[in-house]
């Protein structure tokens, strides 16, 4: 099982636009990816509702886990996504 821990980079935390981009990317990986706050239960990372309900703020660490072929690569790209300021992506 692959596992990564990363601090969320988005200014507003893992809400609205960042949560949408992350949940979409998790679903697109085709693997069962889970996400958890430190010490909290893990939830389905492809569910925008579960991801938003975690209420993760900027700078807070989350742990991603995944199993299956390519799990390490998939988590690496998801970690990069979480570390970036997704609010700024695509905005002038």
């Amino acid at each position: 099982m692959a596992q990564r821990t990363v601090a969320v980079g988005s200014q507003v935390g893992l809400h609205a636009r960042p949560a949408k981009l992350f949940a979409q990317a998790a679903a697109a990986s085709g693997l069962p990816v889970r996400i958890a706050r430190a010490g909290g239960p893990d939830v389905d990372a492809s569910s925008i509702l579960r991801v938003m309900a975690l209420g993760v703020k900027q700078g807070e660490e989350v742990t991603l886990t995944a199993e299956g072929d390519g799990a390490d690569d998939a988590l690496d790209s998801l970690v990069a996504l979480l570390a970036a300021d997704l609010d700024a992506v695509g905005q002038a």
């Binding site: 935390g13 609205a16 949560a19 569910s47 925008i48 509702l49 579960r50 309900a53 209420g55």
Partner: protein
Amino acid sequence: MSTAAASRRLHGAGVGRGAVVGPVARAHPAPAAAADRPAPPDLAEARAAADEALTAVGVALEARAAQSRGTIADVLGATALMAQDTELRDLVRAGIAAGAHPVVAVDRAVAEFVELFTAAGGYLAERVTDLRSVRDRVVARLDGLPEPGVPALDRPSVVVAHDLAPADTAALDLDQVLAIVLEKGGPTGHTAIIAGQLGIPCVVGVSGASALEDGTEVAVDAAAGTVLVAPDDDVRARVAGRRTALADLARATAPGACADGHPVALLANVGTAEDAERLTAAAVEGVGLFRTEVLFLGRGTAPTADEQADVYARALAALGGRKVVVRTLDAGADKPLAFATRRGEENPALGVRGFRLVRTAEDLLRTQLAALGEAARRTGADPWVMAPMVATVDEAAQFAGLARAAGIRHVGVMVEVPSAALRAGDLLAEVDFVSLGTNDLAQYTMATDRLRGELVDLLDPWQPAVLDLVALTARAGEDADKPVGVCGESAADPVMALVLAGLGVRSLSMAPAAVPAVRFALARHTRGTCQQIARAALGARTAEQARAACLALVEDQVREVLALG
């Protein structure tokens, strides 16, 4: 005689002076939840229907997101993904498997996430609106009802609804809204006020509006309060003519004054920093009413002092040294706050609202006043700050103490309660200015709920008893040599504006869109004529007679251009 279809005319109360012709775009109410629906006979069929509805709503929201820009596109995109969420779908399926009707299963599944989001508070609590809109859309689709809420407007349209919540109005794509027509509501309801503020012709309390169909051409005349179905060429030409004449008035920029030069400041009512920023180039002498509650509405927790100070500083900076009158939080009654107002008051309009919140949540007011003081320091501006719903001298003194302690130099109170008008002289001994809120003053003088459309005649600001209280307040201001302003919608009525000027009111604050007509009316009458008009108003026995007596003294050209009747 023309056909019935071609001549159908609906009547209501108009807001604003504008007139426009355009196609109807219906906005539909949220479908009601019914927990007692029977279990579906065929579980597989019920599950397929729920799956289809969730997917279809997600796809439709995605399409709307693709047509939108900026924040709206982001919110719609996230909402689309919520509708297609696998966990939501699993919850709905589990509900159906346990014997729930699909509508009930959707209602419960969404409610579960609403609870999670609400409990988290802050930003997440605000997103509850998006979850509810997913629920409303899916339920409507399952029941074969039209898509609820304000439709995506693909061309300039007349938005027609049974009623619009302030949140619906806020979601309107204003560039595409020609006019708003509501079956329900009164002219002082909040949608009407917002429409008036934006210069969108609005007719409310229109019996039969809900039967208008999408795409039907209608002529909306806010000055006359009418909606004409299928207008002929003659009506279209007259509407076009009025629009041209009003556009001419809109280009005048002189400060407000009577024909003899007696100044009457023309100010704007605003609700947000964005509204204030739109005034940067506008021909108004400042802001006479900054309704700060917009900053607080629809939130799970109060905005912080920093967040408030940023907004106030933006508004003050936008006006660049012009006068800005800020009203402290006016929550309660029809503007409930999750974190401050009490639920279950039997008479919320007579309950803990406006300044009275200080009794239960003094920190809210202290934080707001501190934020205003900070915004003043940051911008170098000198805001005037007033409290709503003050009824006694003690309340005025308490507010003045709190505001001055926060560094506010011009402190005032609203006169909206008859007791405040009757003792305006005593209030003015405690504060530097007063501002008449004529909508609430009429509500409380006439014991008539502002939100009851069918009682609109009793809410008429021309009611002699209301005029008496306005006159009393204005006289108290003259005696104390302290400014009395009016920031209710009656300041936007050009004939009433002449009465108010005649009574000695020094500033009139209204929707920016109403300023040109009032500027024009004032400039065509001397202060002496205004005083004569005011005497005619006070001498009348009924609201109708008061307006008629005043109108008879108004100059002909003003009557004609402004369609005053």
